[in-house]
């Protein structure tokens, strides 16, 4: 299997830097997601790894050997496209056979491998169908099978679920993740859907404007965002201000509308600084007015089945977004208290 290492990888189109010096090491068998808004350079990065896009600067190594000058057809990569890119004039079996023919695999072995992979993606009976005779989800799985049957060194996927409906998308997330675990192949997955990146990846790489803003385990990215951009991109977030009263040993005491809270500090807090703190809506809870916490009034309530979203105007003027289970029986206009557990606060930086 294969370890990928990317160093100061850069892609310049005319005067704009689509990818701006990113460095990244992907361990053998690891599942990495490139997550970021439209135009941040995810696809360009993936295409450079695949060899479809010439590199402007930097290095890409597979198991230590530089592949920058190796053409795409020699890189031994499995690629899955957003529109599947199945060959419409070939049956499922012929689509899968194509890569094996290029590798001059003998006929009996070829048939055996195709059958095995089709089984793996649960499309055993579909070998003789043409792509236009399959549903979107089935086409997606054929595309995955076609990429995997050649047993490539690396699997690359560019928004493979973007064309599926919400329910199928959730099923496929788990499906792809499980399959990747079983096969144990090094995988780079491009998406702008944060939930997708979170569920599937070992590590998430958040990109903005061609640069890596933060990378780490999904929980770290979500719970410990290093910048406001990352915090806002990976989920909904409330921002509140607070005054730093003291700092010591990686912990800052900050006085907020919720009282004084102790927040982990990564060297950015200074005494007397006005800081911005992040609070995830689902970490918050409502209680009756008068309880300890931040007092406020509900301005809106949105019911969405498994959760209820509240907008709460605090008496201090800030507006909070609170997400709770539907058993909370509060409605618009009620006076309430917003409660936050002590570990819900995360220091983003100095307030603007």
């Amino acid at each position: 299997m294969t370890e990928v290492s990317i160093e100061r990888l850069t892609k310049v189109f005319g005067s704009s830097r689509a990818v701006d010096g990113i460095s990244l090491r992907i361990a053998d068998g690891e599942f990495i997601s490139l997550l970021g808004p439209s135009g941040c350079g995810k696809t360009t990065t993936l295409k450079m790894i695949a060899g479809f896009e010439p590199v402007s600067d930097g290095a890409i190594r597979f198991d230590g050997s530089d592949v920058v000058n190796v053409p795409a057809e020699k890189r031994d990569i499995g690629m899955v496209f957003q529109n599947y890119a199945l060959f419409p004039h070939m049956t499922v079996a012929q689509n899968l056979a194509f890569g094996l023919e290029m590798r001059k695999v003998a006929k009996p072995e070829m048939e055996e491998r195709i059958a095995r992979v089709l089984d793996m993606v649960q499309l055993g009976g579909y070998a003789e169908r043409y792509p236009n005779q399959l549903s979107g989800g089935q086409q997606q799985r054929v595309a995955l099978a076609r990429a995997l049957v050649i047993e490539p060194r690396i699997l690359l996927l560019d928004e493979p679920l973007a064309n599926l409906d919400a329910k199928l998308r959730e099923e496929m997330r788990v499906f792809i993740r499980d399959l990747q675990r079983r096969v144990g192949i090094t995988t780079v997955y491009v998406t702008h859907d944060q939930a997708e990146a979170m569920t599937m990846s070992d590590r998430v790489v958040v990109m903005f404007g061609g640069r890596i803003a933060q990378m780490g385990a999904p929980a770290d990215i979500y719970e410990k965002p290093e910048t406001l951009e990352v915090a806002e991109f990976v989920g909904q977030v409330n921002l509140i201000k607070g005054r730093v009263t003291s700092v010591d040993a990686g912990e800052a005491q900050i006085s907020t509308v919720f009282g004084t809270v102790a927040v982990p500090d990564r060297g950015i807090a200074r005494p007397n600084m006005t800081a911005t703190l992040a609070l995830r809506p689902e970490a918050l809870d409502l209680a009756a007015a008068g309880e300890p916490g931040a007092a406020g009034r509900i301005t809106a309530r949105y019911y969405s089945g498994s959760l209820v979203d509240f907008r709460v105007a605090l008496s201090s003027g800030e507006e909070l977004h609170v997400q709770t289970f539907p058993n909370a029986r509060y409605s618009e206009g009620d006076d309430v208290t917003v409660r936050a557990p002590l570990d819900a606060f995360w220091l983003i930086g100095a307030a603007q």
């Binding site: 695949a50 060899g51 479809f52 053409p71 795409a72 057809e73 020699k74 890189r75 031994d76 990569i77 499995g78 690629m79 496209f81 529109n83 890119a85 199945l86 060959f87 419409p88 004039h89 194509f98 890569g99 290029m102 590798r103 043409y130 792509p131 236009n132 086409q139 076609r146 990429a147 050649i150 690359l156």
Partner: protein, 260 residues
């Protein structure tokens, strides 16, 4: 009939377009000695005369040969040009399109005279058939180009990337992925080229060598001195031949294709 006026209008247009053809076909079965309509009695005698007419036979062989050769050449050149135009031309796209379509935009007689001038300037004149073939390729090229570029516009570049990632080199990708997927355009273009070449008059007239003749030229020549139903028989046969090419290609080569 939901729209009677439109329906009648369409029928009239078709009648206007098809009536002359029907008249010619009808007149070809004439038993009399002159090209008249309605025919005076039914007979195949003018077809027999035609098939026994060595001059016409030679002309039709020349026309078929010329159409076949120029179709092959312009299909290859036109397809390559279309691939460059759609996939690689970049900023030069508009320029290339105009250049490729110019034989259609210029009057045929102008192209013919320029070519005639050209072949004499470079010294080959009309002693060889080269000038004639070049003329036919030139006039048929735009039809291949238009058809192939139209089908290339719907060729998804991710098919090519997918094939590349699976390990296919340039030639394999062309042969196994692109060509089958643009086949309808290529065949359609080749058909057009064949029919146009079979039909071309002015270019052939200017560039043919002495003593050589294509079917349209021979027909024209014949009609200047004769006015028998044999001319109608020749015309009917060209119509049948043209239709035959279209139908056979569709059946044999298969324009059907699987798409999603």
């Amino acid at each position: 009939m939901k729209r009677p006026v439109l329906t009648i209008y369409c029928l009239l247009v078709y009648a206007f377009l098809l009536a002359p053809i029907l008249v010619v076909v009808g007149a070809s079965f004439n038993a009399g000695n002159f090209l008249t309509f309605p025919p005076q009695g039914l007979s195949l005698r003018w077809y027999v005369t035609f098939f026994n007419n060595e001059v016409f036979m030679r002309a039709i062989r020349t026309s078929l040969w010329l159409a076949a050769v120029s179709t092959v050449i312009s299909t290859i050149i036109g397809t390559m040009a279309a691939i460059y135009y759609v996939q690689h031309a970049g900023k030069r796209k508009e320029l290339i399109r105009i250049a490729m379509l110019s034989p259609l935009l210029l009057p045929e007689v102008l192209t013919a005279i320029s070519l005639l001038f050209f072949v004499y300037t470079i010294g080959i004149g009309t002693r060889t058939i080269i000038g004639l073939v070049v003329g036919h390729v030139l006039i048929t090229l735009p039809f291949v180009f238009i058809n192939v570029s139209a089908s290339l516009e719907s060729f998804d570049s991710s098919w090519d990337m997918a094939a590349r990632s699976l390990g296919a080199g340039r030639w394999t990708r062309f042969r196994r992925i692109m060509l089958p997927l643009i086949k309808p355009g290529v065949i359609g273009g080749a058909l057009f080229a064949f029919i146009i070449s079979f039909d071309v008059f002015t270019i052939s007239f200017m560039l043919k060598g002495i003593g050589m003749s294509t079917l349209p030229i021979q027909l024209f020549d014949y009609l200047r001195t004769n006015f028998t139903p044999e001319a109608a028989a020749v015309s009917t046969l060209s119509i049948v031949l043209t239709l035959g090419v279209v139908i056979v290609s569709e059946k044999v080569l298969g324009l059907r294709i699987h798409r999603f």
